[in-house]
């Protein structure tokens, strides 16, 4: 479920490898946030998703094979988390165009900011399988082979999904298709989930982060 097996676990001292692992997690946080936000099309919920991924990754760290692509391993976890969560809790709500415009914050110096928010919205209009393929390959810079491992499908399948996703995105942006409604998670849902996971992780974790 969580990716690679732990059959070749190295014989490092756990303290050291845990430190290294945590340091590597930290360096990859920006990418987790970017993947979460592009995948979900949301701002707040996306960070919750990225944090849940870190917790899951930490819990499963013994199944990560050092020397393999940690970013891809984390993305696999994030992706699984995203789809299982969405099945569980996220439901249809009216599209909030003001929120939508703020989904991605980018500096004004970047040209065609309006264009970017159009692209962000159009991306959410794609079928899941095309969106994730396009994000991984087209935005995240993963090779088709790496993306195929993350998605757990054949390389050829990724290629065709990326190609179809590009065409669909273009059709939407050219106005051939309607931008659809989007769904948003209930406020605080994901945050509560993280806190409950933390409670299990950290028995003495107080209510300090609760708002």
């Amino acid at each position: 479920m969580m990716g690679r097996s732990a059959m070749d676990r190295p014989t490092q001292s756990t303290g050291n490898s845990d430190d290294t692992f945590k340091a590597e997690l930290l360096t990859l946080v920006p990418y987790l946030r970017a993947f979460a936000r592009s995948l979900s099309g949301r701002h707040e919920g996306a960070d919750d998703l990225a944090q849940e991924t870190l917790v899951k990754a930490w819990q499963s760290r013994s199944s990560y094979l050092p020397g393999t692509n940690l970013k891809a391993w984390l993305f696999t976890i994030l992706r699984n988390q995203f789809y299982s969560e969405r099945r569980r809790a996220w439901r249809q709500e009216p599209w909030d165009s003001e929120k939508a415009a703020n989904l991605h914050s980018y500096s004004e110096s970047q040209t065609a900011a309006a264009d970017l928010s159009d692209i962000a919205r159009a991306l959410q209009a794609l079928p899941n399988e095309q969106r994730e393929a396009l994000i991984l390959v087209g935005a995240g810079g993963f090779a088709y082979e790496e993306a195929a491992k993350i998605i757990n499908c054949a390389v050829g399948t990724v290629k065709s999904r990326v190609a179809r996703g590009r065409r669909a995105l273009m059709a939407i942006l050219d106005g051939d298709e309607q931008l659809p409604m989007s769904d948003r998670p209930p406020e605080g849902e994901a945050a509560r989930e993280i806190l409950s996971q933390l409670d299990r992780l950290v028995p003495h974790h107080g209510g300090d982060k609760r708002r």
């Binding site: 303290g15 845990d18 945590k22 997690l25 930290l26 946080v29 920006p30 990418y31 946030r33 970017a34 993947f35 936000r37 592009s38 960070d47 990225a50 944090q51 870190l54 917790v55 930490w58 991605h104 914050s105 980018y106 500096s107 970047q110 065609a112 264009d115 970017l116 692209i119 962000a120 991306l123 396009l134 994000i135 087209g138 935005a139 995240g140 810079g141 590009r166 995105l169 273009m170 942006l173 050219d174 993280i194 933390l198 992780l201 950290v202 974790h205 982060k209």
Partner: protein
């Protein structure tokens, strides 16, 4: 990314430019988030995770 095999018509040229612009937009959306400062919550979370497995290293 795509090779020009057919003679370039205006339509094909337009499509290619659009495709490139959209591809660039996708990367900018993603990179824009990558380059945002990481919120403190993430550091806090990793700290807590640490304490949970190594109580002796709890912060002073």
């Amino acid at each position: 990314m795509s090779k020009d095999k057919a003679p370039i018509t205006d339509k094909a040229r337009y499509a290619r430019l659009r495709r490139e612009a959209i591809g660039q937009g996708l990367r900018r959306l993603y990179d824009g988030v990558v380059h945002e400062p990481v919120p403190d919550e993430f550091m806090d979370l990793l700290k807590k995770i640490d304490e949970s497995t190594d109580p002796e290293r709890a912060p002073s």
